[in-house]
Amino acid sequence: MGEELHDIRLSVNGLVREVRVPARRLLSDALRHDLGLTGTHVGCEHGVCGACTVLVDGRPVRSCLMFAVSAVDCSITTVEGLTEPDGSPEGRLSAVQQAFAECHGLQCGFCTPGFLTTITAGLRDNPAPTEDEAREMIAGNLCRCTGYVNIVKSVLRASQIAEERS
């Protein structure tokens, strides 16, 4: 006997996508394997590392701690949805993404999507953070490569870039 499947609609990066999933399908898996949005990474599947962080109704949330079926009424943004339209097919890097490139805020890149989504929301709420606030903003995400120093710099630089662009 097969497992019951649920037909659900997920709103991701501004598009409504239909998928058929069992109830136990984690949102992280649905995004990655059903919708092919593999930019969201899975580092621990118990909500500690933050690599899978996506924006749910604008707020950073661990996608490994949500079921896809539970995300039906939400608007979801993944790392693939962070670039800004500039007429090119790929779009331009957002201020946060650009800052990471400038400040060497990433190495292996695996934790990076979770930082990018988290900081995107963080800077929306607090566009000009102090260094301490920048550290607090990323305090729930693990990175094993960078030692965080350049990520903190990236947060502060992103704030500047956003200011320059506006």
Partner: protein, 809 residues
């Protein structure tokens, strides 16, 4: 003039895809292509005989395609799968090397050892199936921890007496006699616990079998694609030419992914070939804790004799290394500890002896630093103990023992991990120490300490020095191909886990060839592009592949100039390449110039033109009709290939210092200031080097103050999650780290570079132990240390003045 790229903090080219979420890590591959997923039944017991495995409840489960146990691996489909996994690095003293089977044969020796392998439609169903397998065990007493292994009341492997895998002794001079004759002596007992690489991405392997061509493609999150390729071909009974291994983007390695082949790296390809479907295994976090590898656990006993200046006259070190249940990586780790322990110092005489011991725990293979952090901890604790005993400044004692700049090359009279002489190539330790003294504010610290004491606060300062053999052999190679578009494609065989190789290597190639950085593209870890390679470990990528790329690019350049000289009717020596255009020196862009793309066209005599430009190379257009189109000593195409294989390692060095605060009430430990002086020879990309150092320091902070593998006496790893294995967040890492560089070039390679990948993590245990000891007034002898442990030590030391170091004279 082409801008010189070497030495510039160029932004990384790989970041564009990572930042857009378009990296391709193992679990991102073949998404949407109905790839099957594997899960593994792992032993819940540390030591047991397997009496029976019952898979009957799994076979008829919908969505399950395959269930294997050991018995399924002994058939004709793969003749050697039933044998133990390879012992990768044999050594004459590894008298009792043991490796596990891809699936446990009749005994399990650690919690996490693979017993059964399931392939299903997806990972959820595969885990359901694993849960239905029933195993009957006959329990055996587990051996956990170095004391239990040494006591050998129980054995991990029946046929390994005393649990001793290897015993190795090395000496330079008569250390015991030197100690006996020394005016002062000390003995120290020191201990470092287990930790692990813990990349954010665990292990992962994907395989696709193409039945039409009988070829296998394996993508695996590894630090050695050529190593995996050779192992897969051998184990699956295939010709090497039938197997390709491609390393996708790798979400961190830090050493653990150099071990190979993991059981899954063989089982996944075998399942793909058997099922004729793509198969994927993605290790989850819990599995990574119990079925990958750990490192670091060692216990040391030190005897040292020294003079009134603190100069070490004799040093005798005995230590015991916990290698876990198996030894696939040989005894490289304790060999590194035993040799690199010496750091920048030159003891009068040295003897070291170690035993590598089996325990019923996850095996130990290199984790960033690879045996060096333990050695550094031991040596630096010894230096601090000597300073304390003599009442001397810790810097003074170190200075008295340094190898001096005019003593290089310096031969320690020992054999290093690569079987070669331990001979340092270059360095300037007094200069490094002078910089560090300044950077941390060593001389101002006493005043700071007093100022803090007035506020009721307790602070301490510590330092640690290390030397790191980097860029070990045997070799790496590079292939440079200049396309008719003028673009330069470079392949090197070692793999990348976030070090920015695509950027740093392109910088080297752009300089060597005289082409724009943007026109260079680097591929790593793809056996289709470069089948000869070793791997990424021991801070060797920049030294080995960097040098190989430089050499291969120079070969390509030679050919460019030869063809261009003919085309321009000029002498090769008169030509230069600037921004991809070859012209007579001093007349850039003049009429007598030719671009690289055209040279590439000319390099390959054609019968068939494929575009306008290529007409220039067709047979009625070009060439001397009296000669063969391709000369006897030449070959078509604009390529360069070369290999770099040095006599021995190059030795980077560095010194770290830290100021910590310890809370007098709660014993919490806070980092107030951290400073680094680092010397890895010439810097290819200082931004990347600093990134490596910063990341290493964070891992070092973790290793010193937070992370440990907590095994209980039954061999259960009780903290196998990110909840309880305490990797630092940003909140645990100092906000500012001061870094200064010294650039003492290596004479061993054409670019003067040394490795930088592991540097940041090596002195951490040592530097924090030094600073905490300084704050507390008693010696820290075991790392890592938590507030709870510091609190316990305070009580011990308050009740009885002790004992870590025994002055015997």
């Amino acid at each position: 003039m082409t801008t010189k790229m070497f030495g510039e903090p160029v932004q990384r080219v790989e970041d564009q895809r990572f930042l857009r979420g378009q990296g391709h890590y193992a679990d991102d591959l073949l998404v949407g292509q109905q790839v099957l997923q594997a899960a593994v039944l792992r032993s819940p017991h540390a030591h047991a005989r397997i009496v029976d495995i019952d898979v009957s409840e799994v076979l008829d489960v919908e969505g399950v395609h395959l269930v294997w146990t050991y018995d399924d691996l002994t058939g004709p489909m793969a003749p050697t799968m039933g044998e133990p996994l390879p012992l990768l690095i044999p050594h004459p003293q590894l008298t009792h090397g043991r490796t596990q089977y891809a699936l446990a044969k009749d005994e399990v020796n650690y919690v996490g050892e693979a017993i059964a392998f399931v392939v299903a439609d997806d990972r959820y169903l595969a885990e359901d199936a694993v849960g239905r397998i029933r195993v009957t065990y006959d329990f055996l007493p587990p051996v956990v921890g170095i004391p239990a292994a040494r006591a050998a009341e129980h054995l991990v492997h029946d046929d390994v007496p005393g649990n001793v895998a290897a015993r190795l002794e090395q000496a330079n001079g008569d250390a015991r006699a030197a100690i006996a004759a020394a005016p002062h002596t000390l003995s120290l007992d020191l201990e470092v616990e287990r930790s692990a690489s813990t990349p954010l991405e665990g292990r992962g392997t994907v395989a696709r079998w193409d039945p039409d061509t009988a070829r296998l493609t394996v993508w695996t999150s590894t630090q050695t694609s050529t190593g995996v390729r050779a192992a897969v071909a051998a184990k699956l009974g295939m010709d090497l030419g039938q197997v390709e291994v491609v390393t996708p983007d790798v979400g961190g390695g830090f050493g653990v992914k150099i071990n190979h082949p993991w059981p899954e790296e063989l089982l996944v390809p075998l399942a793909a070939r058997t099922l004729r479907r793509p198969v994927k295994f993605i290790e989850d976090r819990r599995e990574h804790f119990v079925s990958a590898a750990h490192e670091r656990g060692q216990v040391h006993h030190v005897e040292v004799g020294y003079d009134d200046d603190g100069r070490v006259l004799g040093l005798d070190v005995q230590f015991w290394h916990d290698n876990g249940a198996y030894t696939p990586y040989g005894i490289v780790l304790p060999i590194i500890t035993s040799t690199q322990l010496l750091g920048p110092y030159k003891p009068g005489a040295y003897r070291v002896v170690f035993e590598s011991l089996y325990t019923n725990t996850v095996m130990c293979t290199p984790y960033r630093g690879a045996g060096r952090p333990q050695g550094c901890f031991v040596m630096e604790r010894t230096m601090d103990a000597i300073a304390a005993a003599l009442g001397k400044d810790r810097l003074e004692v170190r200075s008295a023992n340094f190898i001096q700049p005019d003593e290089f090359p310096y031969d320690h009279g020992l054999i290093f991990q690569d079987g070669r002489q331990l001979e340092y190539d270059s360095g300037d330790y007094p200069a490094s120490l002078a910089k560090l003294r300044e950077l941390i504010g060593w001389d101002e610290f006493p005043a700071f300490r007093e100022e803090m004491a007035r506020e009721g606060r307790r602070v301490g300062i510590g330092l640690a020095c290390y030397v790191e053999g980097t860029g070990v052999g045997p070799y790496e190679g590079a292939h440079v191909h200049i396309e008719t578009s003028g673009k330069v494609k470079i392949a090197t065989g070692l793999t990348t886990q976030g070090q920015g190789h695509a950027t740093a290597f392109a910088q080297i190639a752009a300089d060597a060839l005289g082409v724009p950085f943007e026109s260079v593209e680097v591929v790593t870890g793809d056996t289709r592009r470069m089948p000869y390679a070793v791997g990424t470990f021991a801070s060797r990528a920049a030294v080995m592949s960097g040098s190989a790329i430089h050499l291969a690019a120079l070969r390509a350049r030679e050919k460019v100039l030869r063809i261009a000289a003919e085309a321009l009717e000029a002498a090769e020596d008169d030509l230069e390449i600037v921004d991809g255009v070859i012209s007579v020196k001093g007349t850039p862009g003049g009429t007598a110039s030719i671009d690289l793309g055209t040279v590439a066209v000319l390099s390959n005599p054609l019968r068939y033109a494929f575009d306008e430009a290529s007409k220039a190379a067709t047979q009625f257009t070009v060439g001397d009709p009296g000669k063969p189109p391709v000369a006897e000593d030449d070959e078509p195409g604009l390529e360069g290939k070369d290999f770099y294989s040095p006599d021995r390692s190059t030795f980077a060095n560095g010194m770290h210092a830290v100021i910590v605060e310890t809370d007098p009430d709660t014993a919490e430990i806070t980092i107030l200031k951290y400073a680094v002086v680092h010397d890895c020879g010439r810097l290819i990309n200082p931004m990347i080097v600093e990134g490596q150092i910063l990341g290493g320091i964070a891992q070092g902070v973790g290793g010193a103050l937070y992370e440990r593998m907590a095994y209980d006496e039954s061999g259960q790893l009780v903290n196998a999650s990110f909840m309880d294995f305490l990797m630092p967040y940003v909140t645990e890492i100092p906000a500012h780290i001061d870094i200064d560089h010294l650039e003492t070039p290596s004479p061993l390679n054409p670019l003067g570079i040394k490795g930088a990948g592991e540097a940041g993590v090596i002195p951490s245990a040592a530097v924090f132990a030094s600073a905490i000891s300084d704050a507390e007034g008693f010696a820290i002898t075991a790392m890592p240390i938590s507030p709870s442990e510091l609190f316990g030590l305070r009580r011990t030391h308050a009740s009885a003045e002790p004992v870590e170091t025994k002055e015997r004279s």
